[in-house]
Symmetry: C2
Subunit: 198 residues, 2 copies
Amino acid sequence: MYSPSIKKLIEEFSKLPGVGPRAAARIVFYLIKKDAASSSRLAAAIIDLKKEVKTCRLCFNVYESEKEICAICADPKRNKDVLCVVASETDLASIEKLKTYRGLYFVLGGLRSGFKSSQDRFLRTAELSKTIGANKALREVILALNPTSEGQSTIIFLEGLLKPCGVKISRLALGIPFGGELEYADEDTLNSALEGRK
Amino acid sequence: MYSPSIKKLIEEFSKLPGVGPRAAARIVFYLIKKDAASSSRLAAAIIDLKKEVKTCRLCFNVYESEKEICAICADPKRNKDVLCVVASETDLASIEKLKTYRGLYFVLGGLRSGFKSSQDRFLRTAELSKTIGANKALREVILALNPTSEGQSTIIFLEGLLKPCGVKISRLALGIPFGGELEYADEDTLNSALEGRK
């Protein structure tokens, strides 16, 4: 139906997460209407991304520099005694944006799935054990994972894995979100908020 | 929070229709995880699009070839006596996919908005008048526009504009969609289905 270049680009955009064929077609016709400079900027930014971005061999977060490790791992001012385990780079960014946490991170690369346990081998559990083993100053590991069934299952799995290390293991507090209303909170959340009262 | 290349690409993706900053970040981290060839293919497809795609000066659909006009306008087998006015290239593709309509098209470039009448100047109404005036064989104009308030407002506007041309003007039938249930049809749809019974 569409001409070859349009079809090709709709196909490429459809491969991206959260973009279906209809959304892809909308994007393509938007680009056709826009000037060539907008398209060039987008294409150049995609190419630059792959050229510039590296993965830190300690925390597995992505970074850009000539250095061997990322800026957070290399920062002498960060507390080496606490390690925050997150599922993804975006979760790391959410916590880092708070500017209150001053410890180290570890990007696990996902969460355990109840169904597809074959996916579990993509989680960096062996690397996590290694990072924890190599850090003699470590006293606490925060498992900052989503309070979903996948997150809970991952927390239980990691607690078992990290027990022999002898460090303190903590999770994020569960409760009513700021601005939330008790009336609309689900039972699990309300129960957790009640249990964790202080 | 993110490093420069990541930030830049999230910005670029966020400009696309239907892609917010969160969806853009998901796409960027997906590309980081994928091999460089996937990113190169996407970037190349974006560049090719702007190089290859032209707009037909008769129907304003997009096409790719060395020719002066698009394949549909140039096809001697298409009926020159009927012109189907659509809002967008994607609507044209939806009708063309049916393989039942054999007339010509005209891409209006949008619909009238009740609120932002300043947007109306982007609609190709002058070009439509010109195309209709130049086609001596024309006997019918089908206004194949969405049955929404914007679509209806555009239909009424075009009916007024095209009246002096003396050609028959028709709209798409309104009714219960195939597989739809009367119980769930809204009143306007049900009324239209009843009125248009045959």
